[in-house]
Symmetry: C2
Subunit: 339 residues, 2 copies
């Protein structure tokens, strides 16, 4: 899934070139490339599928030339994750009616890809022999209020050694609730990474969202896609399938700890970047003098010099520049929209 | 004179494109264009001469297309102001042996061009009928330690109503001395703006710097320039001519107050820019939130957003960026040279 527009990282990320297509960690690979990289040995290149906005297809082809061109699905409009995932799974089923599928966002980071592969391998083995819907649950390290949570059943014996039945999905909590979740121990972050057999998800969509299922059945030609997809119900896979399926006892989770972050804001980027002795994280040709606690991204600048800044975001991209206090990062969208 | 390399305004100004060729005030005209503009009605375009480094000739031709191409003198090497001025004056004499000449740097600003023209007009009238060497002396507004000073004779009656004999040139003073100069009232800033008859300056160079005079006599062809000019003595016109001529009682000054600044640093640029209510001076498409006392130049950026900065310089040009405290601006050259 590579359709996000990443407005919180302006001007690093823009609707014309959002963060999944950016080398946000300064490691030489963009987030979508890193996402593909971490499936090495799990999924051959010819089995990848990318669903993205039509306007990003050229970027995907350029950044992932090994993926078959007919596996890049161009959404004519953004309809949230349920139609996105449904479309890919219907297409996958047409090629392999027994396929096991991993669904992942293209804009998250995983600092330990080896552990990621182990977890995904476990989940794939589980869905090979069952009609389980598996969501990967990230073990929380802090009382985060920016993510949804997955509650696991504590009384049941595990389905497999590391796979637990999901009791419920929980919306983004307030801080007090998040602290309770962290203390309770059986709440995990919902990372939007799902594993299932293609038959399972298609059955589930037929059951819980028959309107989306029938839309998918109508999408035979490119013209059908243009006509039908923009009219699909705009709904997340969580609301459309995961929550009702969990209520029916069909959803499992694999708790995981592989250094995941959705890089949803500058704080999480700062967290994942390598820091200097003054707690600055910087990507690009950046020289810092008397700076501390800064997060800097100037990937394509030939030279950036910063002096005397404490606790600032500096983001430069092309001919756009943002300097603002880290404490004010929730205003970046407002800043980006000002004339 | 347009040969400076302006390292103190990095990255706004670089050796490849120094400040005289930049619209540093954000008014739509570069400093060299403004310098030419302010002689409107004083000097026709066909009488302008520009001496610059060979590497800047194309920029001069582009920015000042009205100036005759053969009046743009390309220095093969920088030899300070004495050879620069001598070369131009020798060439002017070949076209008009009676010419009155105004010499001016191309990278200063004058906020009151009308008063500038009045002062220059007075000085030209004076040099038409005398063999005086005239330097324009800027009435000091503060005990500036960054400029040289011109001391006028206090006991003599003025040569003309506003033109006084120069007693001595003074090097850049320390603060205590600068305060004395300011209090004394007969010390003026040496702005490097000179007025003389071409015969006068050529005689003076023959007298005080016969080596430069004989070098000039040898520069008949382009090949001669390439051979001779780089070997000319590297010396300022102040040391070469003004100081010894003043000692001989041949130098006069016209005190002036026309809003002159050499824009030698960010403080002087901040001083000359129009400020918002929070004392920020900004050039370019810049949006400021909770900023004060900043000076910002981002001429060619499509959008700059700054938040929460107090007393900073922000300079963006092409793919280079500087953010530093105004109190640290003397380190900019060091910053620009770091790898």
């Amino acid at each position: 899934m590579a359709g996000g527009i990443g407005s919180r990282f302006w001007p690093l990320s823009t609707p014309e070139f959002p963060k999944q297509f950016i080398d946000i960690l300064g490691c030489g690979r963009t987030l979508i490339q890193l996402t593909v990289d971490r499936f090495k040995g799990v999924c051959p290149m010819e089995n990848f599928w990318v669903v993205t906005n039509a306007s990003y297809v050229d970027i995907v082809r350029q950044q992932l030339p090994e993926i078959p061109v007919n596996h890049i699905l161009a959404e004519p409009a953004a309809r949230n994750t349920a139609p996105c995932i449904a479309w890919a799974c219907w297409r996958i089923k047409a090629e392999d009616s027994e396929a096991n599928v991993v669904v992942t966002p293209a804009d998250a980071v995983v600092m330990n890809p080896e552990e990621f592969r182990r977890v995904i391998g476990n989940a794939l083995k589980f869905t090979e022999k069952s009609d389980a819907i598996v969501t990967v649950g990230i073990k929380p390290s802090r009382p985060e209020t920016g993510y949804g949570y997955v509650e696991t059943q504590t009384d049941a014996s595990p389905a497999e050694s590391e796979i637990h039945k999901v009791a419920a999905f929980k919306e983004k909590p307030d801080l007090e609730t998040a602290e309770k979740y962290l203390k309770a121990g059986n709440y995990l972050w919902n990372a939007g990474i799902f594993v299932w057999n293609v038959k399972t998800i298609i059955e589930a969509i037929k059951t819980y969202k028959p309107n989306i299922s029938s839309d998918m059945e109508r999408m035979k030609t490119e013209a059908d896609v243009q006509e039908v997809f923009p009219q699909c119900e705009k709904i997340s896979i969580d609301y459309a399938v995961m929550e009702p399926a969990a209520a029916d006892g069909k959803v499992y989770t694999h708790p995981a700890d592989f250094g995941w972050s959705d890089l949803g804001n500058w704080a999480s980027l700062h967290d994942k970047l390598q820091k200097d002795s003054e707690n600055n994280g910087a990507v690009g040709k950046v020289r810092l003098y008397e700076c501390k606690n800064c997060v800097v991204h100037a990937e394509d600048a030939s030279k950036v010099v910063l002096q005397g800044l404490d606790g600032y975001i500096v983001s430069a991209k092309g001919d756009r520049l943002l300097v603002c206090k880290r404490s004010e990062e929730q205003r970046i969208k407002e800043f980006s929209q000002a004339d």
